[in-house]
């Protein structure tokens, strides 16, 4: 084996190891959660670890979905009413935040990319700069503001906070998408008799679709996974999402690992579906043929 081949083989092995580490890092916890959700409570506290439950049980899922279930030999009420409500809350706030964020970003980013107005760059960097502010520093003033506006524990309130938190990132992304598009396409549309808005909606946005989809995915995932904001602003089941509900399955003297993990697995499904669905529109090569 020559030195060169050796180096190549070494590089390949390095790549494989890196991929494995990454896989274990990202898929490992999900696998562990899945395995746990099928493990009976007695096995859960056994000393030797199992990589897959010896005897699979659906009792944790039954506790989530059934009307009643057995826990430690006692008949208990299921958590389905709370759980289903939290799913709905998560979906509503995440979807609303995603639509509003992407819609605003689609137009505002265009203004930042193409229109000339005084203070354009300063304003943009101030908006994007808010990304650097840690959420907990604004929590208290934000809480007072939301109280004053009577928006605590309302969909509107939570969605507004999400939009203001995730808009800068979407704006940033969309501005660079617009900037990378050839100006001559817009100019051609203007010469053809189209106004600014028509050009944006009929020519630019269809071509910027992958960017809009990416912004939607990022925003949705961010909103779905939010913990701190709903912890403060969604105190009751009126708006409480899954992320806040699931940890509450920890009771004073008993941590129901099985239930928590079963709920966690269910909570992963909607974002996975959303990503799978939107991913189909994340095609490249839309610009092919526009220019020589």
């Amino acid at each position: 084996m020559t030195h060169r081949n050796f180096a190549l083989a070494g590089g390949k092995i390095g790549t494989i190891i890196a991929v494995l580490v990454l896989l274990v890092w990202s898929v490992g916890p999900i696998y562990w959660s899945l395995a746990t959700s099928f493990t009976s409570p007695t096995d859960l506290i056994s000393a030797e670890p199992h990589f897959w439950p010896a005897d699979m049980t659906l009792e944790h899922y039954a506790k989530l979905f059934g009307s009643t279930s057995m826990s430690q030999g006692n008949k208990v009420a299921s958590v389905w009413p709370q759980f289903s409500r939290a799913i709905i809350n998560s979906v509503i706030t995440s979807v609303a935040a995603t639509f509003i964020t992407v819609a605003i970003a689609a137009f505002a980013a265009y203004a930042f990319a193409r229109m000339k107005f005084p203070g354009r760059n300063v304003l943009f960097f101030v908006v994007v700069g808010t990304l650097a502010i840690p959420a907990y520093t604004v929590m208290i003033p934000l809480y007072r503001l939301m109280i004053a506006l009577h928006l605590v524990d309302t969909y509107v309130g939570v969605t507004l906070i999400y939009v203001s938190a995730f808009l800068p990132l979407a704006l940033w992304l969309m501005r660079s998408v617009y900037q990378s598009m050839p100006l001559s396409l817009e100019e051609a549309a203007w010469m053809d008799g189209a106004g600014r808005v028509y050009t944006l909606v009929r020519i630019i946005m269809p071509l910027a679709a992958p960017g809009l989809i990416a912004a939607a995915i990022i925003t949705f995932l961010n909103a779905w996974g939010q913990f701190l904001v709903p912890l403060v602003f969604s105190p009751t089941l009126t708006t409480k999402p899954l992320t806040v509900l699931i940890p509450e399955f920890v009771s004073r003297n008993y941590v129901d690992y099985g239930l928590i993990n079963a709920a966690g697995i269910i909570a992963i499904i909607p974002p996975v579906l959303v990503v799978l669905f939107l991913n189909r529109f994340l095609v490249s090569g839309l610009m092919a043929g526009a220019t020589k």
């Binding site: 549309a189 189209a194 043929g289």
Partner: protein, 358 residues
């Protein structure tokens, strides 16, 4: 009807003035080319006419109406971009019909209008394709079709053929010209290919560093260049230039250069003894047998047969010269030859300001 009048037009980018007060009138139905070196401001001028670039100073008027503040979409001009700028997500038919749809032309009329133009441009088989499934030449024609279909007042072309190969370029050149004749639409055509400018235009505008050097019909510009810049810019190989001194005596008018005394026909301004530049086009030189009156000694360095012509490169004194002969020619490199000139083909320019004197 569209007469375009541009007066004292200026353009600044920041503090840099790139167009220095241009005056140009384009008559209705005329085909005018803008030609000049890269960066001289051709595209800037065209884009100002289109309304895509702000006007720093001066006016642009169509049929006497100043349009400085009219938005591009309301100018009723169509532009063919150098990079075509086709809408990649729309089919050929939709690309061409886009402007009609915006004008609220009924759908039933759009399709036939598009089909007519497609027929004209040999695009009929491709109407339902996306631009990415077309060749460069076909894309170019779609860009043309998009401009034609709405019958604008003015066509603006920014080097529309520069992305095509040589053969297709000649073919499209002929097609565009024929089309423009038929439609009779006022057209402004930016190019830096002088063959395109010479063959297509009613008049040529030669630009240099944001100024207009000369405006004239193709042959007028070729035969009587207004100054040294135009003389060397138009024509390939470019015009030979020799420094000399103007002499008037009883026998006529002569230019005495370092190596020859060249007779000038006709009248000429400029005083005896003033410094001038003599210009002779390569094709107006011929090889003569011996030193005769007015002949120029020529030391041959290189022979370049192009097929149609033979180009000779060499020098007289220390000045490089080019000769273009219609015939085949052979002589040992390094030969000392003599060049004859027809006096009616001699151009004389002021040495100081480069302006034409005869």
């Amino acid at each position: 009807m569209a007469n375009l009048t541009i007066s004292q037009l200026k353009k600044n980018y920041g503090n840099v003035e790139v167009l220095h007060g241009l005056d140009l009138t384009v008559n209705d139905g005329e085909f005018v080319s803008l030609i000049g070196e890269s960066g001289c401001g051709k595209s800037t001028l065209l884009r100002m006419i289109a309304g895509l670039e702000e006007i720093t100073d001066g006016t642009i008027a169509v049929d006497g109406r100043v349009i400085n503040d009219v938005a591009p979409k309301d100018r009723d001009m169509a532009m063919v971009f150098q990079n075509y700028a086709l809408y990649p997500h729309l089919t050929v038919a939709e690309n061409m019909g886009f402007s009609l749809r915006l004008r609220n032309v009924p759908k039933a009329e759009i399709r036939p209008a598009v089909e007519d133009v497609a027929e004209l441009l040999n695009l009929s088989p491709y109407l339902d394709r996306l631009p990415k499934a077309l060749s460069g030449g076909q894309r170019q024609r779609v860009a043309m079709g998009r401009a034609i279909v709405r019958r604008p007042q003015v066509f603006l072309f920014d080097e529309p053929l520069s992305n095509l190969d040589a053969k297709l370029r000649v073919q499209m050149r002929v097609e565009i010209k024929a089309l423009q004749r038929r439609l009779g639409t006022t057209s402004i055509y930016v190019t830096h290919d002088q063959m395109e400018a010479m063959t297509m235009s009613d008049r040529i505008v030669i630009m240099n560093h944001g100024k207009i050097e000369q405006i004239g019909a193709p042959l007028e510009v070729y035969d009587r260049p207004a100054n040294v810049f135009v003389a060397t810019f138009i024509g390939s190989p470019s015009m030979n230039l020799l420094d000399g001194v103007l002499e008037r005596n009883a026998d006529g008018i002569f230019i005495r250069t370092e190596t020859a005394v060249i007779r000038v026909a006709g009248e000429i301004s400029g005083q005896s003894g003033s410094n001038v530049i003599v210009g002779v086009r390569p094709e107006h030189l011929k090889i003569v047998a011996d030193a005769t009156e007015g002949s120029i000694p020529f030391d041959l360095d290189l022979i370049e047969p192009t097929g149609a012509e033979t180009h000779l490169y060499g020098q007289t004194g220390k000045v490089l010269m080019t000769v273009a002969l219609n015939d085949r020619f052979n002589a040992p490199l390094g030969s000392s030859l003599y060049l004859g000139i027809q006096e009616k083909h001699v151009h004389v320019f002021d040495k100081e300001n480069g302006q034409r004197l005869n």
